[in-house]
């Protein structure tokens, strides 16, 4: 008899989602759908607002990665203004974006994923959380809390607020950095290094225990996309887009924000509010691709900082070509944290970081503009159109988590086929179905621009669509 399993809510995610697993008459999982069930409509209600309000409005989509929305939005506005921001403003924004990636990656790795990694996929769910980690591995708990505090505190020092800082504006940033804040940030760097080195060492020691998960967690060939620097290095803020295929062959390169919609289309599916972006030349769904830490490390030739370069070299040895297993997103996040700390240290050691000229001004010089930034979860695109008075007439946001949508669905199917037996649901099975989604660290609040809640649901459905079983966690 065919069945459908629904996991609702899926836990330890940013947002609210549902997983539906359908079985065939042989008790095998035949279909999987990861549904995002809420919508907020930021693109629509921005119509009529002055374009310069967009960064602060759009940042409200998310409390985890507001800086990425600020940056992509400000860059779209700057395309409308046709201005180039002062070099010091670009450096300060880069530092802010990296600080956000550090705190977000720390949240993902230590708070959300490490309970599975350190305590085991089959551990008692009552203990499988950050508090369980704190008890069993306090040194790693402290490292996680410390790294998140480092990123958050740096955002607060620069932008005055940990969440939704208003510092990034069209044209640059509102005020320059002073020496006292620079020194405070640099003083925090040694602890940050110690914490990430501890985490990388611990991760490499335990990763081999998860060979089964590495092979089955969204491990499939497909394209990867992200931003790279002009020298092919890892870049989060001011680069161009590159896409490679599963063999590492470049499919698209040097794509600027203004032309991203020539290459990227968006499909919709009836079971989710989250869109399904794809690479237009390959069509949908063949052109579905992955973004985020794994993609960034796959497309970049080097990190550009000594410690991260050494780690990246080791990472790339995991495969003869691009690293395809999505379980490695966890590892990639840690390398990006290390890279971020190194770049921040470099930027804040330059005397020019204190330059006072940090904002360019202009009015409406174009009626369309797009901006791109690398958010912690992947490439983020904001695309706006305005009238001659600068009032918004149209907006479209292509969100990182949405770009991983197809990969998450394929990953859920892959894991469910490996672990879920329709006649008996166990906690370990269900947790692995959730855990494959956690590797992507999806932010469903961003992806649907919906209000974030943690829970997710798993449903088991019969072939006729009736619910046979349902698991909800709160």
């Amino acid at each position: 008899m065919s069945q459908t399993i629904t996991i609702d809510p899926v836990t330890r995610l940013e947002g609210h989602g549902r997983i539906t697993l359908k079985t065939n008459g042989h008790g095998e999982i035949s279909e999987a759908c990861f549904s995002v069930t809420q919508v907020r409509g930021f693109e629509k209600f921005s119509e009529g607002r002055p374009y310069y309000e967009m960064p602060s409005l759009m940042a409200r989509i998310c409390g985890i990665c507001p800086v990425s929305h600020l940056l992509a939005s400000a860059k779209a506005c700057e395309a409308i203004m046709a201005v180039e921001i002062p070099p010091t403003a670009a450096k300060l924004r880069r530092a802010l974006n990296l600080a956000q990636s550090i705190q977000s990656h720390a949240l993902s790795f230590f708070y959300l994923a490490s309970p599975d990694l350190l305590l085991g996929m089959d551990a008692d769910p009552a203990d499988r959380n950050i508090f369980g980690v704190a008890k069993a591995h306090p040194e790693l708990g402290r490292a996680g809390v410390g790294l998140r505090r480092f990123g958050q505190h740096m955002i607060e020092l620069l932008g005055r607020k940990r969440i939704h800082p208003g510092w990034v504006v069209p044209g640059g940033v509102t005020e320059p950095l002073d020496a006292a804040k620079r020194d405070e940030i640099l003083a925090l760097v040694p602890d940050a290094y110690a914490n990430i080195k501890l985490a990388l060492t611990a991760y490499k020691q335990i990763a081999s225990r998860f060979q089964d998960e590495i092979e089955s967690f969204a491990n499939f060939p497909g394209p990867f996309m992200g931003m790279v620097a002009d020298n092919d290095g890892l870049e989060f803020t001011d680069g161009k887009l590159r896409m490679i295929d599963a063999k590492g062959i470049v499919l698209m390169d040097n794509l600027e924000a203004a032309r991203f919609d020539e290459a990227i289309g968006e499909a919709v599916e009836p079971f989710s509010y989250m869109k399904f972006p794809y690479y237009k030349p390959m069509g949908y769904p063949a052109g579905s691709y992955r973004v985020g830490p794994l993609a960034r490390l796959n497309i970049a030739s080097h990190a550009g900082t000594p410690l991260a370069d050494a780690e990246l070299l080791e990472f790339k040895k995991l495969s003869n070509g691009p690293v395809l297993g999505s379980f490695h997103y966890h590892h990639a996040r840690l390398i990006e944290i290390l890279h971020g700390i190194e770049v921040i240290e470099q930027l804040f050691s330059e005397s020019s970081i204190l330059d006072k000229h940090v904002r360019a001004t202009a009015g409406v010089n174009r009626q369309e503009g797009a901006g791109i930034a690398e958010a912690p979860r992947g490439t983020l695109m904001h695309h706006y159109k305005v009238d001659s008075n600068g009032l918004m007439t149209w907006a479209n946001l292509v969100i990182a988590t949405g770009q991983n949508n197809n990969a998450m669905n394929k990953g859920v199917l892959q894991v469910a086929q490996r672990y879920v037996k329709a006649d008996k649901l166990t906690e370990g099975m269900l947790n692995r179905v959730e855990a494959v989604i956690r590797t992507f660290d999806p932010c469903l609040s961003c992806a649907t621009h919906a209000f974030g809640q943690m829970p997710l649901v798993i449903e088991l459905l019969a072939p006729d669509g009736s619910i046979l079983d349902q698991v909800s966690r709160v």
Partner: protein, 169 residues
Amino acid sequence: MATPVFSANHMAHSAKHPRTLLLACGNTLRGDDGVGWRIACALEQQPCNGLTVLFTQQLLPEFAQAVSRADTVIFIDCSADTAAGTVSTTPIEPAKDLPRILTHHLDPASLLRLSLDLYAHAPARALAVTVGGESFALTDHLSKTVQAAVPTALQAVRNALQMVRAQVH
């Protein structure tokens, strides 16, 4: 209104001056929810050795280290559970059972527990001073009922601080 920051009086350890952490919680744009910040702002105007004031919208795991380094922690917040304008002073013990799912905030007892688990230390004294809220609408003003309770709440916090100092001396 100030943004979430540590105040100037950082936690320099001194036998004469116990390390006291004041954690003011709430959202100043949601009416009475901002009462904790207002009380802490008033206290911050009178410098006090060993006192650190932290303004925050939510209690976060990242505060565990600061909590672990304090001898006393006082949480100041609005309560949605007590009658409007009621000032309550409640001792807080580290939680025994922690939430299974970490979202983005903790309650005071869970933060004390996390402080113990991560840093093997929790403050010797922890208490919460709360004011019952009446309105959590989108405004930066307190309701009249809660505004009238602010002096009482301020005095409750001052009493707690004096008690701490008296115990040390």
